[in-house]
């Protein structure tokens, strides 16, 4: 499998919502660590991040984005056949957040609704999942809600966002080409080791240890192997991009914009340089929105490509990659779509 094509599927619109609360990676850092932090920021390219209020979940952001999108598209709630939420920060471990949102959004009980557990690679996989349902003729209109609540004050990388993408059946819509891959041998590269069924949360997981800088770390914290993730990203993504272009019969120069998951500047710049792409065709939102996990592709589209996608037709290559390990590439043409500015909530 890996490579595939879907026909008659149209991206009707995209809306992205971020929390109002802004964190500065420089200003909010203790003065004693300022010099080290400035070097880090220079390399990861992330100056500001968004973080949810304590009461706020990813789904609250996605709800705002979806309501705005449905209003702007003038789609009735009764028209939505499927609602798929792709997140790794659901409201509860069970039940699915998508089912809760079916009710909160006022969608019909006949709506297909469930969650998919993917992170940074979510967007191309989600387009393929819902696109397949639409291309088969089984459904006509669908919503894909992607994002995560992954920001913490301490970590300088991650940022919160919730997004909504509207897809519909449209006879004759340009084909979407996909290259989707998974490598479970690298599952430890990014992992929350505690809280699942392999290692349920226990009392001792709540006891932190102090590192040489005096910072506290909990056994239940996210583990991220920076070297493994860097090597995975800069080796696999450029190859996948070239493979997808060859499969689709599309030249590099035919693609108007390459929108990659916003991992960090070091990774994204290396991918861009390896593909010999000019900066103007590779929009980035790392500086202002950080790494918003699976939401970073739609957030970047909302923030940087609103005008060209609303007013004309553009060919995009979308590349998601990360936790799993999982990486997917998609070539899609978007024409006169309803793209909303980034919303704050």
């Amino acid at each position: 499998m890996g490579l595939s094509t879907l026909n008659n599927v149209r991206v009707a619109g995209i809306a992205s919502c971020v929390p109002k609360r802004v964190l500065s990676n420089i200003e909010d850092c203790p003065p004693s660590q300022r010099a080290e932090r400035e070097r880090l920021v220079r390399n990861i390219g992330i100056e500001h991040r968004r973080i949810c209020q304590e009461w706020q979940c990813f789904s609250d952001l996605a709800l705002v984005a979806t309501e705005r999108l449905l209003d702007e598209l003038k789609w009735g709630r009764h028209e939505i056949d499927a609602l798929v939420v792709i997140t790794q920060s659901p409201d509860y471990l069970i039940p699915s957040t998508a089912i809760i949102l079916q009710d909160r959004l006022g969608l019909e009980q006949t709506t297909i609704a469930y969650d998919v557990n993917l992170g940074c690679s979510a967007y191309p996989f989600g387009l393929h999942l819902l696109g397949s349902m639409i291309a088969s003729g089984a459904i006509k209109k669908a919503l894909m809600l992607v994002g995560d609540k992954c920001a913490t004050v301490r970590d300088p990388l991650f940022s919160d966002a919730g997004t909504a993408t509207a897809l519909e059946f449209a006879e004759g819509a340009p084909p979407m080409h996909f290259d989707l891959n998974s490598d479970g041998s690298g599952y430890k590269a990014i992992i929350l080791p505690v809280g699942g069924h392999r290692e349920p949360f226990a009392y001792h997981h709540g006891i932190p240890r102090r590192d040489e800088h005096g910072d506290l770390h909990w056994p239940a914290d996210l583990i991220l192997d920076g070297v493994a993730v860097l090597n995975f990203s800069i080796q696999r993504v450029p190859t996948a991009v070239e493979r997808t272009l060859a499969y689709a019969g599309v030249q590099m120069s035919d693609v108007d914009y390459f929108v990659f998951h916003q991992a960090n500047r070091m990774i994204n710049e290396t991918i861009r340089k390896k593909l010999r792409l000019p900066e103007q065709r590779v929009p980035s939102t790392l500086k202002e929105y950080g790494n918003t996990s699976g939401a970073s592709i739609p957030v970047t589209i909302s923030a940087k490509l609103r005008q060209p996608l609303q007013n004309g037709k553009r060919k995009l290559l979308l590349g998601g990659f990360g936790i799993g390990l999982s990486w997917g590439t998609c070539i899609v043409e978007i024409e006169r779509a309803c793209i909303q500015e980034v919303i704050e909530a």
Binding site: A35, E36, E38, R39, L40, R42, N43, D225, G226, V227, A228, L230, N231, I234, Q235, M266, T270, K273, K274
Partner: protein, 75 residues
């Protein structure tokens, strides 16, 4: 293979140290105050972009001096 001098120049750019520091072939990595995981990532990227060579974290862990990293180019 590039000259050692050219490599050292690229190395200093890649590690992006805040404080200027003199680096020679025999300089021990452990003696560089800012040799850390970020510097290691920079070196991995440099190997890929400048020299078209993939190195791993284990490759770097086995290096004691800057020259040991330079020698990875010849492997």
């Amino acid at each position: 293979m590039p000259t050692l001098d050219a490599f050292l120049e690229n190395f200093l750019v890649a590690v992006d140290f805040q404080e200027a520091v003199e680096v020679k072939a025999e300089t021990k990595l452990a003696d560089l105050p800012e040799w850390d995981s970020l510097a290691a990532l920079g070196v991995i990227v440099m190997f890929d972009i400048e020299y078209g060579k993939t190195i791993t974290g284990d490759d770097l862990s086995s290096c004691v001096t800057v020259e040991d990293i330079y020698k990875l180019l010849g492997l």
